[in-house]
Amino acid sequence: MKLTVNGTAKDYNGDPQMPILWFLRDELKLIGTKFGCGRALCGACTVHLDGQAVRACVMPMSAAEDRAITTIEGIEGGHPLKTAWKTHNVPQCGYCQGGQIMQAADLLARNTTPSDADIDQAMAGNICRCGTYTRIKAAIKSAAAELS
């Protein structure tokens, strides 16, 4: 099967049931997408599939056929979300932050002026054990202001 990852065409001929996560990590060595729970419960593995946030740990490769995947490595360094994340010093251990940013990007693509409740709702599936939530929220608002 064929698919696109961060704008580059890729081929895959393995088990169609394998979650996208392991294709990205084991085969493409794109390590920015993280394993956290394996059951779509924590959001550490969040990537975009045709622009929509999905959990790579449960999404099978078959669902990615002829579609485009974007990972945290595919979000350029000057993106307003990455800039805001840095301005607010969001990351502590950093492990969940790629997934947080991918989820936030999905939110801002649909809603450029999210309220606190919108942010809570969109981000509730992304766990951060370091507890950076107040900074994530502030960074999303900064990026939203930048984008709108």
Partner: protein
């Protein structure tokens, strides 16, 4: 120190650089290890922590593990400040586990407080050496040259040389004695005490930061292990036919069964080895294992907690006593008693445990997300029958630690498997593995009884604590809470009550018990600070005022003098006293920041708690709102911390925010067991704080202090759960004494 010794030391540093280079060679640490030019010919390394290259790069070695507290940045700040290095030229490399660095066990909130002076000396020594090199070059007295911001200058002649230009000369000079080198005055600090940005932030945001899960070695295979569901269980029967049939699975290996004590050893079980993660996961799913659950199969949480409660109701072994509690209770105007319980908890770092092991001839190399590279080294050596010197332990970034990664069992698994299969092996733990086979924060039951006189003063305090102790993990006969755990918020009760008696009671462990952020402080603060609020309610007093009265006048407690076994977190009591004045101060600060008086008058539900731990003082106010259905939320939380001298104000702020959220998780999560098997398995049934439940805002106030630096990573956690429970009581009239607090609370009728 002679030049030749200096040279050999540099060779040693080069050795560790090459060890890191092995990680670099797989292309994962680009940007993290920019070792410039030839480090032997072109650098000087006056001590373990500082190398200066001819191109001016300053390489600072971080010997403590990075798990989100930004210790890599803080250590660099401390050294770069005294070295007067240009921050833009500073790079940080991570030390492997080696006793030459001193203690590397990154727990106990001690990275800064135990290293502050020696790291400053490391920077100052290097700076002094560069000054000496310049003075010799110009043939001028050393006191006429100054080193600031990567330049050494001679004031009278206006000559200057960059740090890199002095490397070759400095390398031939003896290294100054660190104890004779003057340190900067506090007012001259350039980086210490500032909100310097994390040096790892760009790699994190790029998705290129390397955690243990990300390690990749040539020829590496992945291992996923089916571990005994019950501690000390063993494989009775194994059918691995289906597992071996899965494409990519290359081997199925039985690990040796675990004999008590668990200590840091591998748990045993059956490992599936595969060429890919997916194959290893599928292979494990396909294993058919029949387990002999062993003696711990009788452990079920409900009956166990009832037994612990019964123990807490009966007289225990006295660990601290003054006055006459029994008489004071008998004569009290009011008597109040309450029991508090907390379940087992899992640290649940976002990155589950993972380690990679690779055998080279008669040595082994490990890459692990470990908080404790030296005990990893020793434990791996022991498991393989090697000497510690044959084991290299490289420390990756940690995707959270919280105490779980203070235990090297997962590195032992990787080492055993790498030896067995002959290729590099990466062991990964799934979330279920992490939740079901952990080193749990201990389950606890406590009872406090107090007497109040006619004026509302607390005259008697009797507190019993019962929990399976951490030492049980190392000696199964240990059932009494250890003094090392009692000192965590129990023995050091700061209340000024004339009659006070503390007792401990025994409980047997049936799972591995281990450290979790702030350890026993979490349940001790929960009980004591909840009960303080209950006393205020009984005395019809403002809870904040009553807490201050309980703490009493400013004074230093000297428990050892009073015959109490108390070691003050291993630090001298004269340098880090138990200072009730500082504890009271953070309470007043947080009350002011939270508008305590006016918000209470306005009917807002506020809870307060304050606790000294790891030599720091933290007070927390939580404000809750409860809707008609009983769903609660936290619109605001407020934290005041006195941690003495702080190195990075933003990191301290972040730890207070994150420590609060972690404390909230401790209040809502629970691990239970049925017939010895843990009931929970993932984030669906082991609740941790999510954004929608977290405080919407967290206001942090850092008390300015020139006291020596104290702990930061753990102290913000203990006060949160009692402040929350107190706030929920204010909102609903319902007192939650048995954690977890449900996400939907009841209103008292």
């Amino acid at each position: 120190m002679s030049a030749s010794v200096d040279l050999s030391r540099r060779r040693f540093l080069v050795g560790s650089a090459q060890a890191s280079g092995l990680v670099l060679s797989v292309g994962l640490l680009a940007g993290c290890h920019p070792f410039a030019d030839d480090p032997i010919a072109g650098s000087v390394a006056p001590n373990l922590f500082v190398t200066i290259n001819r191109d001016g790069a300053v390489i600072i070695t971080c010997h403590r593990s990075e798990m989100g507290q930004q210790i890599r940045t803080s250590i660099a700040q401390i050294i770069a400040d005294e070295l007067e290095a240009d921050w833009a030229k500073v790079v940080v490399t991570q030390a492997a586990g080696d006793p030459k660095y001193g203690d590397q066990n990154t727990d106990g909130s001690r990275s800064v407080r135990r290293n502050f002076i020696r790291l400053r000396q490391a920077g100052a020594t290097a700076r002094q050496l560069l000054r000496e090199a310049a003075a010799q070059t110009w043939d001028v007295p050393i006191d006429t040259v100054e080193a600031t911001q990567h330049q050494v200058r001679h004031g009278q002649s206006g000559r200057s040389l960059g740090y890199g230009e002095l490397v070759d000369i400095a390398a031939r000079l003896p290294v100054p004695d660190p104890d004779t080198v003057p340190l900067k005055a506090r007012k001259d600090w350039r980086y210490i005490g500032k909100a310097v940005q994390s040096i790892d932030v760009d790699n994190v945001l790029a998705g290129t930061a390397v955690y243990a899960f990300d390690v990749d070695r040539p020829g590496m295979q992945v291992a996923v292990i089916a571990r005994p569901p019950v501690l000390f269980g063993r494989v009775r029967q194994l059918n691995d036919k289906a597992a071996r049939a899965i494409p990519g699975v290359t081997d199925v290996v039985r690990l040796p069964p675990l004999a008590p004590p668990a200590a840091f050893k591998a748990l045993g079980g059956v490992a599936v080895i595969a060429t890919s993660t997916w194959a290893a996961l599928r292979g494990r799913d396909a294993l058919e294992v029949e387990w002999d659950h062993g003696d711990n199969a009788g452990f079920t949480s409900g009956p166990f907690m009832r037994a612990m409660r019964a123990t807490a109701r009966a007289p225990g072994e006295v660990t601290r006593n003054h006055g006459d509690v029994d008489t004071a209770l008998a004569e009290a105007d009011q008597r109040l008693a309450a029991e508090y319980t907390m379940p087992l908890l899992s640290q649940a770092p976002m990155e589950p445990p993972s380690a990679t092991a690779e055998i080279h001839d008669d040595t082994i190399e490990i890459w692990a997300c470990t908080q404790t590279p030296q005990s990893t080294r020793r434990t791996v050596a022991q498991a393989l029958g090697m000497e510690a010197e044959q084991v290299t332990v490289n420390v990756t970034l940690l995707g959270g630690g919280f105490g779980r990664k203070s235990k090297p069992d997962f590195s032992v698994e990787a080492a055993l498997l790498a030896r067995e299969v002959g290729t590099p092996v990466k062991v990964i733990w799934t979330r279920e593995d992490d939740i079901k086979n952990g080193y749990y924060h201990s389950v606890s039951a406590q009872r406090i009884e107090a007497g109040i006189d006619a004026d509302g003063n607390t005259t008697a305090w009797l507190h019993r604590t019962v929990f399976p102790p951490i030492p049980s993990t190392f000696d199964v006969s240990q059932t009494l809470p250890s003094h090392g755990e009692l000192r965590l918020g129990f023995s050091d009760n700061p209340f000024d009550v004339p009659n006070l008696r503390l007792e401990r009671g025994a409980a047997k462990a049936h799972v591995r018990i281990g450290w979790l952020r702030a350890v026993a402080n979490v349940y001790h603060a929960f009980a004591i600070q909840s009960f303080a609020h209950e006393l205020a309610v009984a005395a019809e007093r403002d809870p904040k005022d009553y807490l201050l009265e309980l703490i009493g006048p400013p004074r230093h407690l000297d428990l050892a003098k009073a015959g109490v076994e108390y070691d003050n977190y291993g630090d001298p009591i004269d340098v880090f006293p138990i200072d009730t004045g500082r504890l009271a101060h953070v309470i007043r600060e947080v009350a002011e920041r939270s508008d305590w008086e006016s918000k209470r008058r306005a009917g807002r539900a506020l809870g307060i708690a304050a606790h000294r731990s790891f030599l720091s003082y933290v007070a927390t106010v939580v404000e809750v709102e409860v809707d008609d259905d009983g769903n609660w939320s936290i619109p605001h939380a407020y934290v005041a911390i006195d941690a003495g001298t702080v190195v990075n104000t933003d990191h301290v702020r972040a730890q207070c925010e994150g420590g609060s959220v972690y404390g909230l998780s401790c209040a809502i999560g629970a691990i239970t067991a049925t017939d010895g098997i843990v009931d929970q398995g993932n984030f669906n049934d082991y609740l941790v704080t999510r954004m929608n439940q977290a405080p919407a805002t967290i206001d942090v106030h850092i008390v300015e202090s020139d006291a020596p630096p104290a702990g930061v990573g753990e102290p913000p956690t203990p006060p949160f759960a009692p402040a929350l429970a107190n706030a929920i009581y204010e909102a609903t009239g319902t007192r939650y004494r048995d954690l977890p607090i449900p996400l939907r609370v009841k209103r008292a009728s």
